[in-house]
């Protein structure tokens, strides 16, 4: 899966327009980075990559790039 596809998956989870996210965008600046999107993220990563990330993993994410890095 290439970087563009991964970004699209993440944009779907965060319910933002395609192409609107950058790797260094800070999560705390995003309105849609909330408890609901965190659960969707867990499901997306498990569904796509077969691993269940933890609350601790999520707490460490600061930027979009941090999430993309673990998407494999």
């Amino acid at each position: 899966m290439d970087a563009k596809e991964k970004m699209k998956l993440l944009e779907d989870v965060l319910e933002v327009d395609q192409g609107s996210l950058r790797l260094d965008d800070r999560l705390d600046a995003l309105d849609s980075w909330d408890s609901v999107s965190k659960l969707s993220l867990i499901v997306m990563i498990d569904d796509t990559f077969g691993k269940v990330i933890t609350g601790n993993d999520i707490a460490k994410f600061q930027t979009i790039g941090d999430i993309i890095k673990i998407m494999e």
């Binding site: 909330d34 408890s35 867990i42």
Partner: protein, 362 residues
């Protein structure tokens, strides 16, 4: 894996009672605003709940569920009930256990072991196992397991999520010795390392050990439920799924053989994802959270009563999984006769407990 197969005991009747008092989503909109409520509804699936009126508590609902069983099975000799277990986190008093008050109200015999179990989400699974095990090892004919909570009274009314998410309800299950009964298979699990993921910090003895300064640290002074939503979600979709799959392998059963999967009703999004991971058809996942909210230990039997209480005939192969506070979880695999699942009781009735008023204590 800790499994058990119990034979010779039948689920002779299953009933549940919820408050007639309904709290609709419109009332929630008025209290908390549309956006906040829609967000909670979106992820949990709760559209309305039943909240007990001020004077009604969990044991009241449990009493009504049990009496509903006695009324539908007129020839039950109450003295044959040798085990009475009340599974709840919202008891009548700190002391004595509410099971003894129910023992009085249900007019049971002295030849009966009655006690409470303090569990929530996994309460039905554990209550059933303890009741079945005790029944197997005692000379009596029957056991009664009553499980439920008035969680709405545990939560703060200012907390939007808890107000909408928690619903009240209590179920009663009558177990009978019957040589030709289908077996009931169980697995029980615990993980105390994650006990703080669901907690009511203040009010019991740990909080009494703190000075006022110590109480101010973190959430120690907080007297309502706290949940680490993200970690509980990962617990559900990872550990609980793992246990269920492992359990099916141990008891040599295929998921396709089940007529229904009933999960603890905590969150519709999580339940649907668990069902997907279990590879069971979506229509076999029974849901009551939309109309009753998260009903704690009663959620599994309440969901069965909601789906089958008005139906007649046949038997259903059920896979039941309770998981949550503790963290504690367990699974049951068993066949249930649909005729033994009674219609749901709706009532705001309650007990007027005057015994303590007239007592002389020294």
């Amino acid at each position: 894996m800790l499994t058990s197969k119990i034979s010779g005991i039948e689920i002779a009747a299953m009933a549940a009672a919820v408050p007639a008092n309904r709290v609709s989503i419109e009332e929630m909109y008025q209290r908390f605003g549309c956006d906040a409520v829609d967000k909670t509804v979106g992820i949990t699936g709760v559209k309305e709940v039943r909240h007990s009126v001020q004077k009604q508590i969990a044991s009241d609902l449990g009493y009504m569920a049990a009496e509903h069983i006695f009324q539908s099975r007129e020839n039950i000799d109450r003295s044959t009930i040798g085990v009475l277990i009340f599974v709840s986190q919202t008891p009548d008093y700190k002391v004595p256990p509410s099971a003894l008050i129910l023992h009085k109200r249900l007019n049971l015999s002295k030849e009966c072991a009655a006690f409470d179990i303090n569990l929530g989400c996994s309460g039905f699974i554990y209550g059933m196992f303890v009741a079945c095990s005790m029944l197997q090892n005692l000379g009596c004919q029957r056991a009664l397991c009553i499980v439920g909570d008035t969680s709405s009274k545990l939560a703060s009314h200012e907390d939007r999520a808890a107000s909408l998410l928690f619903g009240d309800g209590t179920a009663a299950i009558l177990l009978e010795k019957n040589k030709s009964a289908s077996s009931i298979e169980f697995t029980l699990c615990s993980d105390g390392t994650r006990y703080s993921d669901i907690v009511v910090p203040y009010g019991e003895f740990r909080s009494k050990t703190y000075t006022p300064e110590e109480l101010n640290i973190g959430y120690r002074h907080y007297s309502y439920p706290l949940m680490n939503g993200v970690d509980i979600f990962t617990f559900g979709v990872k550990d609980v799924v793992f246990t269920m799959k492992n359990f099916l392998r141990c008891i040599n059963k295929e998921i396709s053989k089940y007529d229904c999967l009933v999960l603890h009703q905590a969150n519709l999004y999580m339940m649907e994802y668990i069902a997907k991971k279990m590879k069971i058809d979506r229509e076999k996942l029974l849901v009551s959270i939309d109309r009753f909210g998260n009903t704690s230990g009663a959620s599994i039997p309440l969901t069965l009563v909601d789906s089958y209480g008005e139906k007649d005939g046949g038997e259903i192969e059920t896979l039941l999984c309770g998981f949550g506070v503790g963290l504690s979880w367990g699974v049951i695999s068993t066949k249930i006769s649909v005729d033994n699942i009674l219609p749901l009781v709706y009532s705001d009735n309650y007990y007027i407990d005057d015994d303590i008023n007239s007592q002389a204590y020294n």
